[in-house]
């Protein structure tokens, strides 16, 4: 598995985690000139933007370590752009970080309302 495939597998694992929590998929890998949102999911009128960080094997680091303050700022701006473009008008918006460890089966740790 090359690193792109690992990323895609991680995002799939994160999505199925959200689906099991009763969310529905709004967008996956939404792109604009600023960058990319990994996952956007919706439950009732709560819209969640999720940054997925995937790590191979039993690493010592957690994926969330890669989410730096500058990355957080960037994700907020991307979310604004996404809301401008879409016709969704959710009453609440949340940013999550999903840390996915690829073992025999992917293990998803969800940091809800991360920032």
């Amino acid at each position: 598995m090359d690193h792109l495939a690992v990323g895609v597998a991680g995002e799939r694992a994160a999505l199925s985690h959200y689906l099991s929590l009763g969310f529905e998929e709004v967008a996956r890998n939404w792109r604009c000139s600023f960058g990319e949102l990994d996952l956007v999911v919706l439950r009732e009128d709560l819209l969640v933007f999720c940054e997925v960080k995937t790590r191979r094997g039993h690493g010592l680091s957690y994926g969330f370590d890669a989410v730096t303050p500058s990355k957080m700022t960037k994700l907020r701006r991307l979310a604004e752009l996404f809301l401008l473009e879409s016709n969704l008008r959710p009453s609440a918006v949340r940013f999550d970080v999903a840390s996915v460890e690829m073992r025999e089966r992917p293990v998803v740790t969800l940091f809800a309302d991360a920032f």
Partner: protein, 513 residues
Amino acid sequence: MYGKVTAVVVIGVRGHLVTVESSIGRGLPALCLTGLPGASVQDARERVRPAVESSGLEWPLRRVVVNLSPVTIRKEGPGLDLPIAMSVLAATSQFPTDELPGYAFAAELSLKGELMPTPGILAVAMAAKRRGLKGVVAPEANAAEASLVEGLEVVAAPSLSAVVAFFRGRWKPGPIERSSPCEGALLNAVDLAEVRGQAQARRALEVAAAGGHNLLMVGPPGSGKTMLARRLPTILPELTRDEALEVTQLHSVAGLLDGGGLLLARPFRSPHHSVSMAGLLGGGTGLARPGEVSLAHRGVLFMDEFNEFRRDAIEGLRQPLEEGRVVVIRAMGAVEFPSSFMLVAAANPCPCGHRGDPGRVCTCPENRIESYRHKLSGPLLDRIDIRLSVPRMTPAELMSDQGAAEDSATVRARVERVRAVQRRRYRELGFTCNAQVPGPLVRGCARLSSEAEVLLEAAAETLHLSGRGFDRVLRVSRTIADLEGDDRVTATHLSEALAYRADLENREPVHVG
């Protein structure tokens, strides 16, 4: 997900209770410290998590907010590591918290989760006792000082895991080895009996100790000034328990207590003349540390090469000498340290040190001697009652066997008797010794005999005694009379006191003895 633990922050020498709250909530895993933590407490953020994890406990993978209350005081010092760790562990319910409110916590943590020796534990224990807590949790290395506070349970633990096991009811601290209260004399490595000759200086030392007078010794290098000063604490009265606690507390805050318990010997501090203002009077960045004047509290501050000290450092001695305390002003407020000490200053008679020495020739130019002496004069000298010339001993004097000199214990017994007389005399005035009596009162207290009155009048005339010089002579003669057991100051007492005023303004040093 909430936990609350009591910690103690030491400001000056006083402990202040601080509540350490933890809340565990949503967000990326992080430890956020609020409530005016100083730089040394911010440090704890990186230390606490590894300490918890290597103790076999769990650090929550959540956003942890730790608040230090009250937020009005800046928290400094490493003692907050343990309370922060315990409050996070309490918030995550990793041990039963029913017993938690009765204890105060203070200890620095290592990355392995050990409790490291922490300064100021005695002040912590005293604060816990004052606020009616049941016990204190402290590092094993500080057990002896914590146990000095009566009626307080001391949980002296080696590690964080032991502290948690204690609250889980699976570990009990071992009995604390109290350092045996030894005789004060045994703690002093030196004795007055070791001083050869110098009968005049020995006597002056005894008078100084008896009346609590500050002392200036002027003499050539090698005449024994340092040796004499070093032995002054050994002839001072033994510390009372309360005094010993004050001394121990100051040394504990300075981190100078080597695991021992109560300090019983009077301190002797001899700072080098290059000492900074902060080093001498207290201060430093962040946590204000007691300076040399406070480490010498209830003991002796010896300043060798007195006129080599910085002018502002010498001027800074005025507050501690007058008030027995020193106030260090910081941006965050004033910190006060007790500093009641006997000052012993020593100086050479001139820059080369040989002026007035019969066996040597002084090579200093007149103008240099002038400026050298000029540094000695000034308002501080007014606080020094006894000024003594210490001549160099001749080889013959050093070799001669004059029989065993009196040892410190014998002299101390006399000093203690005289101190008791003074305490009784000044009971209503609130002084403890002759040196504390201010000028206007000393004339009433001295009780001169009629011949002494006549002599004093003559001396004031011929020696050009200033008003303050006059009071100094009276104070010292009162002490001499007390030493002799006389109610009245006689002409003999007065003439001895007049001899203890080596005149530094004078070109020719006055020779004594």
